[in-house]
């Protein structure tokens, strides 16, 4: 356990540590807490920097490389810099692609001035391509944070982008 007073520069906050420990009784070993712990950090910081990886590893009794190995497999957690305040995934798999998903992705990225995977300079939004979001009945679709945007057109996608950029921090 990392005591609160050990490192004043630590990244994992007390509420994060409490959340991780609250899940511990669910699993017979602490390694299984890896993904839950990474999500707990990512939910707050919108990325998991290497320093946080080392701290998660210390909390779970693992080597930092163990945690980094798992983290890097998924390609989900940003590490270099935080994702935008809105993280949007535009589906590019077959059902969406058949109904204009790729055009939606290209248009919204163009309007935002970024490549897929990029974050706008003001940090308001990250736009990524996604493999099947499991909402093919509403293709083409996009998941933005917890909201599913259905039956998109390039126009409605850009309108969404504008609403995000006009949103105060």
């Amino acid at each position: 356990m990392i005591a609160s007073n050990r490192n004043p520069n630590r990244i994992l906050t007390d509420p994060m540590l409490e959340k991780i420990e609250a899940l511990a009784p669910r699993y017979p070993n602490r390694r299984a807490l890896t993904l839950p712990a990474l999500h707990i950090v990512n939910d707050v910081l919108r990325h998991v920097p290497l320093e946080a990886v080392a701290e998660v590893a210390a909390v779970l009794g693992l080597a930092p490389a163990d945690v980094q190995d798992t983290l890097s497999f998924y390609g989900f957690f940003h590490q270099e810099q935080p994702a935008g305040r809105v993280r949007a995934w535009v589906c590019r798999s077959i059902s969406c692609a058949l109904r204009g998903g790729e055009e939606v992705l290209e248009t919204i990225c163009h309007a935002a001035g970024i490549q897929p995977g990029g974050t706008t300079a003001d940090g308001s939004i990250t736009i990524e391509s996604a493999e099947c979001l499991g909402a093919c009945d509403f293709a083409p679709c996009m998941l933005a944070n917890k909201d599913l945007h259905k039956n998109l057109t390039p126009e409605t996608a850009v309108a969404f982008l504008q609403s995000v950029r006009g949103r105060p921090e």
């Binding site: 669910r26 699993y27 017979p28 070993n29 390694r31 299984a32 807490l33 890896t34 993904l35 839950p36 990474l38 999500h39 779970l60 190995d69 798992t70 497999f73 998924y74 390609g75 989900f76 957690f77 995934w89 590019r92 798999s93 077959i94 059902s95 692609a97 058949l98 109904r99 996604a130 493999e131 099947c132 979001l133 499991g134 909402a135 093919c136 009945d137 509403f138 293709a139 998941l143 917890k146 599913l148």
Partner: protein
């Protein structure tokens, strides 16, 4: 076509259908109470075996039989994992079950845990389903409060905890041993079998992994009976003693070029044509269909002429597809280029190959590079042979990989080229008039990394 009243989807459209009160008003949890009071775990195993239920996640293995592979008299713990990592392109039936009727799958999970003597069940839920997460967690909380979960459920002596576990956007976690590795906090690399999970699975303990729709079916079999379940679907072929039949209702996901995409419930054995005409409102924009994916992209392709093939566990295989898969039908209209289709498929699998087995890691990524080259107007007819060689050599069936992801990547390649060969050849000849006949090695295109 006979009308069929939805059972698995009965809560869809009911206001607050996801709540405990609504579920109980429809007869939910009464079967659980009756079984916990009167039956033994083996009775539930026998019931599910007798129903003929086959797993709805894709492989179609007998659910009851899977449970019997657990060691007898094991001191425990035994784990039950519910595979809610639904990621097969075109598939969304689990999402609807979890969002609109979470208690149905939770009752099925409790019954299955009772049958398998598991005292802990993990629901491995993909990250992309935040609404499902909220609904499931709400339903689990309600079930604890009502005494359907926790210690000594309804005084039966049976105890069960259900925990939600969040994935991180990786298709391979839908493979059952990849799911187990991921749950353990590792990269989701599928395991070599044997040992099978039933013998040594999660945390080195006996483990059963079942799909969400399978759990919903278990709940309905408990409520409506084995005879009800066996009265629906396609009976086993009397001329084939190894055919276990395709019993029960199935959730068909219909998407792509139809007027009304959606998740529709019907008996197993429906055809693609019936789905499109009866549920889908026809092919969109008044166009004609050209092809359809029969059960998620990894199952391959039907040509339009094959649309009368029954969607049961045996049907798609008879026209060269990999199987029924998830029964997710994606319709392609006459305007779709098969080159574009195959490029999309190859890009998906190159992105989602976990990288553990070389034939899959390299095969999926080379097939994408070949399709990039063809799309860029630099294809050669020889590339079709190279693609088929990749398709024929990667996967569990040729024996070169640990799990079936590569078979799923290979099938769209094989089906598309075999069934639409002239279209590929015409495209290559037309777009590369000076080089289509070249057979020498060519330098790879500068491509954007698929990973």
């Amino acid at each position: 076509m006979q009308t069929f009243k939805p059972v698995l989807l009965e809560a869809v459209g009911i206001p607050d259908g996801y709540t405990l009160a609504s579920y109980k008003s429809r007869g939910g949890y009464a079967p659980l109470e009756r079984i916990l009071a009167q039956k033994k775990p083996l009775d539930v195993v026998d019931m599910v075996k007798a129903s003929g239920l086959r797993g709805r996640g894709g492989a179609g293995f007998s659910t009851g039989l899977k449970w019997t592979f657990l060691p007898k008299d094991h001191p425990g713990p035994i784990y039950l994992c519910i595979n809610a990592d639904e990621s097969e392109p075109g598939t969304f039936n689990n999402r609807i079950l979890m969002e609109d009727d979470p208690h149905q799958m939770i009752e099925g999970t409790i019954l299955s845990a009772f049958a398998t003597r598991a005292s802990t069940a993990y629901i491995y839920l993909r990250y992309e389903y935040p609404q499902s997460w909220d609904r499931l967690q709400g339903a689990i909380d309600e079930a604890y409060a009502a005494g359907y979960l926790g210690n000594n459920i309804r005084g039966s002596g049976f105890s069960l905890n259900i925990y939600l576990h969040r994935g991180a956007a990786a298709y391979i976690c839908g493979e059952e041993t990849g799911l187990i590795e991921s749950l353990e906090g590792k990269r989701a690399w599928p395991r070599i079998k044997p040992p099978f999970p039933a013998v040594e699975g999660l945390f080195q303990k006996p483990t059963v992994v079942n799909n969400v729709e399978t759990m919903a079916c278990v709940a309905q079999i408990a409520r409506r009976g084995v005879d009800w379940f066996r009265s629906i679907g396609v009976p086993s072929d009397p001329n084939n003693p190894r055919d276990p039949g395709s019993y029960g209702p199935k959730l068909y996901c219909l998407s792509g070029h139809v007027e009304k995409p959606g998740c529709y419930e019907a008996p197993l054995g429906l055809t693609v044509r019936q789905l499109i005409d009866h549920f889908g409102g026809g092919v969109w924009k008044g166009r004609k269909a050209k092809a359809a994916i029969p059960g998620g992209i990894s199952m391959g392709l039907f040509t339009e002429a094959e649309f009368d093939t029954p969607l049961d566990f045996a049907g798609p295989g008879r026209v060269g597809c990999l199987g029924l898969g998830t029964a997710a039908v994606v319709v392609l209209d006459e305007t779709v280029s098969m080159v574009d289709f195959l490029h999309n498929s190859c890009r998906f699998f190159a992105h989602e190959s976990c990288g553990q087995c070389t034939p899959c890691r390299e095969g999926t990524s080379w097939s994408l590079r070949l399709l990039e080259r063809i799309k860029a107007g630099k294809g050669r007819l020889k590339d079709l042979e190279l693609l088929l060689e990749i398709g024929n050599t990667m996967g569990m069936m040729p024996g070169s990989t640990i799990c079936g992801l590569a078979d799923g990547a290979a099938w769209p390649i094989k089906n598309a080229i075999q069934k639409f060969r002239s279209e590929f050849e015409d495209f290559i000849r037309k777009t590369n008039p000076l080089g289509w006949m070249v057979t020498d090695p060519v330098p790879a295109l500068q491509i954007i990394s698929a990973h």
